[in-house]
């Protein structure tokens, strides 16, 4: 079976777009082939900085023939209808149609259309230009005098088709003046010039000799293996970085891994800052000394050139730039330390008065003041010293004005910790500076140190309350201020630290609903049944996240028992009857059971059981002992069962009927102490 090879050769494709583009090309081309009846055995996409390629294996030489029958108008129909039919069926005259007889409708025309399948190259020549013209790059451009859009100027197209044993043919087409051919280019510097290619194996092999590794995963493997080897040879350990590796493999066609050195004195600067500098600006890896766990004064660079001097000039050049960058970083670090040592915190804080946090929410200074006040209020609830929590909150954002954080925003918080230690501040304050941003997402660590927890809660709550008050709420996929993340952060801080917090005292009712939603999402992800969460939330005054979760858990356990299941069934039956009868009567029943009218022993027993269970449940709930409350509730199971077994609710005597409906309403009321059983499924 023949194979198709397609290569779109261009100027350098942005690294971040390459992997997606390869996958998109594969999908677009193979989908279009299949849609046209060309089923294939396999397909693989390739991408390098300068080329996007696709190989499709095992394609048929042509489309299968197709047959179609098309019904036409009846014989003797008006001329217009006949002409329309001829046009639609592709017939030249009505003689080419067949006359069919139908017992009901009489004679009518029928066209048997036989379409011979087209050769695959012809189909490919139609598909590929259309895909090129409408390729969904995240950002595309025009160049020269043309109107074609591509991610960067498209320079040539290779497209061949043919069976393994024969010389493949070029699939001929043209896109904006670029004619397809069988020619590609090797490495820009190491093997310039045209290379004639036949098919995939040939393309891969010839590119490899022309210093191009076409397979992205293989480039990654080479980089990683060589980097580790180089590190090992120096007794060091590579600090792996998957994101960086992804980017680098999109910047080279022929990875050459080299090691450079920087002055040891730069190691005064915190590791994270060195790493951020070297990673962000130079796209190099850093190395660790396994003995100390600290960074070594080496870095790994990946060049795209096998240089004639073995890479000496390239290493020297990179070392020079890294030296300049680290000098900057060290300068920032030194400046910050000097500033912190000479300018009191209060004075540094005042500078935040000139920094707008948000147009409608005042300055950064006002925000810090709010967070500090809230942290102080929350401190006793989380077991933190109130004064310390306040000081920690005042300090927590101070690194935002430092030089290092100005240059590398990703080390915010962390720098605050380092600077706090250097200033000799209590360790709680240092930790809070780093940890108050946590947790950043569902998998980030939740702080546990009380002062950190107080500041982290205050920071997030202030953000939520603030943006809520100016009506900047998340909508759909838009959440520019990451409010969902902040709310989830509060939820996790509370749950994982076992905190008791009445949210209603801090936030408005609408924001409370937002928290409820976040909690639901969180619990669902933990495997809790969403209906149980709903059943608890439906009760009034649920604003204590920890208690809600405890109740949901207890409810889940209760419903897993025989008592729980049976009681729920009984409840559902009662609720159903009530719903129907209440609708009929146009009233809703609640309370007022007349003991005198309780004739049957089962209804008396039920009434007594309900009356008896109220107080212990209330006590158990007061003690926040949900297990005990559920246990009490379980005592209703038997009387409810017996009641439905023996007693007819809709008694002929209206007074009896109403009294029994009231009794059912009492079941409903009793269970409401624990959850809204209506919301529970099953």
């Amino acid at each position: 079976m023949p194979d198709l090879l397609l290569e779109l050769f261009s100027e350098e494709i942005p690294a971040r777009m390459q992997a997606d583009a390869a996958e998109t090309l594969r999908k677009l081309v193979t989908d279009a082939l299949v849609e046209r009846g060309l089923v294939y055995e396999g397909a693989k996409a390739f991408v390098t900085p300068r080329r996007l390629a696709l190989a499709v294996h095992g394609l048929p030489a042509g489309q299968p023939d197709s047959h179609e029958e098309r019904k036409g108008p009846r014989v003797g129909a008006p001329e217009g209808a006949i002409q329309g039919f001829l046009k639609a069926a592709g017939l030249e005259s009505i003689e080419q149609a067949i006359v069919e007889s139908d017992p009901k409708k009489g004679d009518f025309y029928l066209a048997r259309i036989h379409r011979p399948g087209r050769p695959t190259p012809e189909v490919v020549a139609e598909i590929v230009p259309a895909i090129i013209r409408s390729f969904p790059w995240p950002k595309s451009m025009r160049w020269g005098s043309g109107s074609l859009r591509w991610v960067r100027p498209l320079q040539s197209i290779l497209c061949t088709f043919g069976p393994e044993t024969e010389e493949p043919e070029v699939v001929p087409f043209e896109v904006d003046g670029i004619a397809s051919g069988a020619v590609t280019q090797g490495h820009r510097f190491l093997a310039p010039g045209a290379i004639r290619v036949r098919r995939l194996e040939d393309w891969m092999a010839k590119l490899e000799t022309a210093f191009v590794v076409a397979d992205r995963e293989r480039r990654k493997d080479i980089i990683l293996a060589d980097a580790k080897d180089l590190a090992l040879a120096q007794g060091l350990e590579l600090v792996e970085d998957a994101g960086l590796l992804d980017e680098i493999c999109g910047l080279v066609e022929w990875p050459v891994v080299l090691m450079g050195t920087f002055d040891e004195s730069f190691l005064d600067v915190p590791d994270e800052v060195i790493r951020a500098t070297i990673r962000a600006n130079q796209k190099c890896f850093v190395l660790k000394d396994p003995a100390s766990g600290r960074l070594a004064n080496r870095f790994i660079l990946v060049s795209n050139l096998k240089a004639s001097d073995g890479g000496k000039a390239i290493i020297a050049g990179n070392e020079r730039v890294i030296r300049a960058r680290l000098s900057d970083a060290k300068f920032f670090w030194d400046t910050d330390r000097r500033t912190n040592a000479t300018v009191p915190l209060a004075e540094r804080l005042e500078k935040f008065a000139n920094v707008t946090f948000h147009e409608k929410l005042g300055s950064q200074f006002e925000r810090i003041e709010r967070i500090a006040a809230l942290a102080e209020t929350l401190a006793p609830l989380v077991g933190a010293d109130a004064k310390l929590a306040r000081e920690a909150a005042l300090y927590a954002k101070s690194d935002l004005r430092t030089e290092v954080v100005g240059e590398f925003p990703e080390v915010q918080g962390l720098m605050g910790k380092y600077y706090a230690r250097l200033e000799g501040l209590p360790e709680e304050i240092a930790l809070a500076a780093e940890e108050h941003y946590k947790p950043q997402g569902p998998s980030d660590r939740v702080p546990t140190a009380p002062v950190s927890v107080a500041v982290a809660l205050a920071d997030k709550l202030d953000t939520l309350v603030g943006f809520w008050s100016i009506d900047e709420k998340p909508t759909g996929s838009k959440d520019p201020y990451a409010l969902r993340r902040a709310a989830l952060g509060v939820v996790r801080l509370v749950l994982e630290n076992g905190l008791r917090l009445r949210l209603a005292e801090i936030v408005e009712p609408e924001l409370l609903i937002f928290f409820a939603d976040r909690l639901k999402v969180h619990l669902r992800e933990q495997g809790a049944r969403h209906d149980l969460v709903d059943a608890v939330f439906a009760l009034p005054g649920q604003d204590d996240i920890l208690l809600i979760v405890k109740r949901v858990e207890a409810l889940g356990r209760f419903l897993a028992t025989d008592d729980g299941r049976t009681l729920l069934a009984g409840y559902k039956r009662a609720a159903n009857i009530l719903r129907i009868e209440e609708k009929k009567d146009g009233v809703s029943y609640a309370g007022g059971v007349d003991l005198v009218l309780l004739h049957e022993p089962e209804e008396r027993a039920l009434a007594e059981a309900i009356a008896k269970v109220g107080e212990p449940i209330e006590k158990a709930l007061e003690a926040e002992n949900f297990e005990a409350a559920m246990g009490e509730m379980a005592t209703l199971r038997a009387p409810v069962d017996a009641f439905f077994d023996k007693v007819t609710v809709n008694a002929p005597d209206p007074a009896l009927r109403v009294n029994r409906l009231r009794l059912l309403a009492d079941i409903r009321t009793a269970t409401r102490a624990i959850a809204d059983f209506d919301r529970i499924e099953g």
Binding site: E11, E12, P14, A15, R16, P49, K139, M141, R142, W143, G144, S145, V151, R152, P153, Q155, F189, L251, V252, Q282, K283, C284, L301, S303, N304, L305, A307, S308, D309, A313, I314, A316, G317, N318, R320, V321, I322, R323, A324, S327, D328, V355, T356, E359
Partner: protein
């Protein structure tokens, strides 16, 4: 490759001036008109009318020039070995962008002494945008051994207008390149004139004092009342010239360039005010928008001129 017969004061790797001369020779050879710097303060070589305005309209255009660029905020009182509030950009514009623009660029690096078999040159994604000019393009920052030495951009839009044909723009950071080819760590140590001993003139001899003085000016003393007034005046003058330049039927414009000068002026004054820290975050956006409006109006005016490709009246 550098002609070994060249004396040091002409060599790109021995003198700052030699670097400029080598680039002039290279691009003149490729058919560029070698222009002189625009005689106004600008933040980047792109502001030169030979780029901004000429990128608009259908007419073909090739030019190369040095443009002093002023970034008041980047001043460091002459104390930072890499940062300057006044530096030189070497600017090339080719319209339409030729198919071999990358090759031309690489050849220009060879012409200034960068051996492509020894050095790792790469094209790393960099989208360019100038909010004040209402312009954007796609391209790369060009790396040599990990150092950004040039910007390479295909203009897509300028002054809010689509560019057809598309111009290719190359911007070389001259000081940085010179430091690289001269092997110097501090910009002020660059050999400017290629001489040694008493006759040697360094970059520091020419510019160190200026950096100190202008940093003081930009950060501490620039007269902000005057600057606010100048911004207002430039803005209203631009509007006046733009209005007066239109023909009666508004099909032709006769004063696009004087109006654009005022737009450049407003942009630089804004940069100075920004460096003085007297413009708040919110105001900042509105100033940028005001300059952009001027740039757009100037672009529209330019398109109604001969050089902008307007049909003859």
């Amino acid at each position: 490759m550098i002609d070994p017969a060249l004396p040091p004061h002409m060599r790109p790797d021995k003198s700052f001036q030699g670097l400029i001369l080598a680039l002039h020779a290279f691009w003149a050879d490729k058919g560029c008109a070698v222009l002189q710097p625009y005689d106004m303060e600008v933040g980047a070589g792109t502001f030169h009318p030979a780029t901004t305005l000429r990128a608009l309209g259908p007419k073909h255009w090739k030019a190369a020039y040095v443009q002093p660029s002023r970034r008041p905020k980047d001043g460091r009182y002459g104390e930072n070995p890499n940062r300057l509030q006044h530096y030189y950009q070497y600017q090339v514009i080719l319209k339409p962008s030729p198919a071999n623009l990358q090759d031309l660029y690489l050849a220009s690096l060879e012409a200034i002494g960068i051996d492509l078999n020894l050095h790792d040159v790469r094209f790393v994604e960099d989208d360019w945008e100038s909010p004040t000019l209402g312009a954007w393009g796609l391209g790369w920052e060009c790396w040599c051994d990990g150092m950004e030495v040039s910007q390479f951009t295909y203009f897509q839009q300028v002054a809010g207008f689509e560019c057809t044909p598309v111009s290719g723009e190359l911007t070389y950071g001259l000081e940085r390149l010179a430091m690289y080819v001269q092997g110097v760590e501090n910009v002020y140590d660059l050999n400017f004139n290629g001489r040694e001993g008493d006759e040697k003139v360094t970059y520091g001899d020419v510019f160190l004092q200026a950096e100190q003085e202008y940093s003081r000016h930009n950060f501490e003393f620039a007269d902000t009342d005057m600057l606010f007034e100048q911004f207002r005046m430039a803005e209203s003058a631009a509007a006046k010239y733009l209005e007066a330049g239109w023909s009666a039927d508004r099909s032709r414009h006769l004063m696009a360039q004087p109006a654009y000068d005022q737009c450049i002026k407003a942009s630089h004054v804004f940069n100075l005010l920004d460096a003085r820290g007297v413009i708040s975050v919110t105001e900042r956006q509105s100033y940028i928008l005001r300059v952009r409006e001027l740039a757009k109006a100037c672009g529209a005016a330019w398109l109604a001129t001969d050089a902008g490709g307007a049909p003859a009246a």
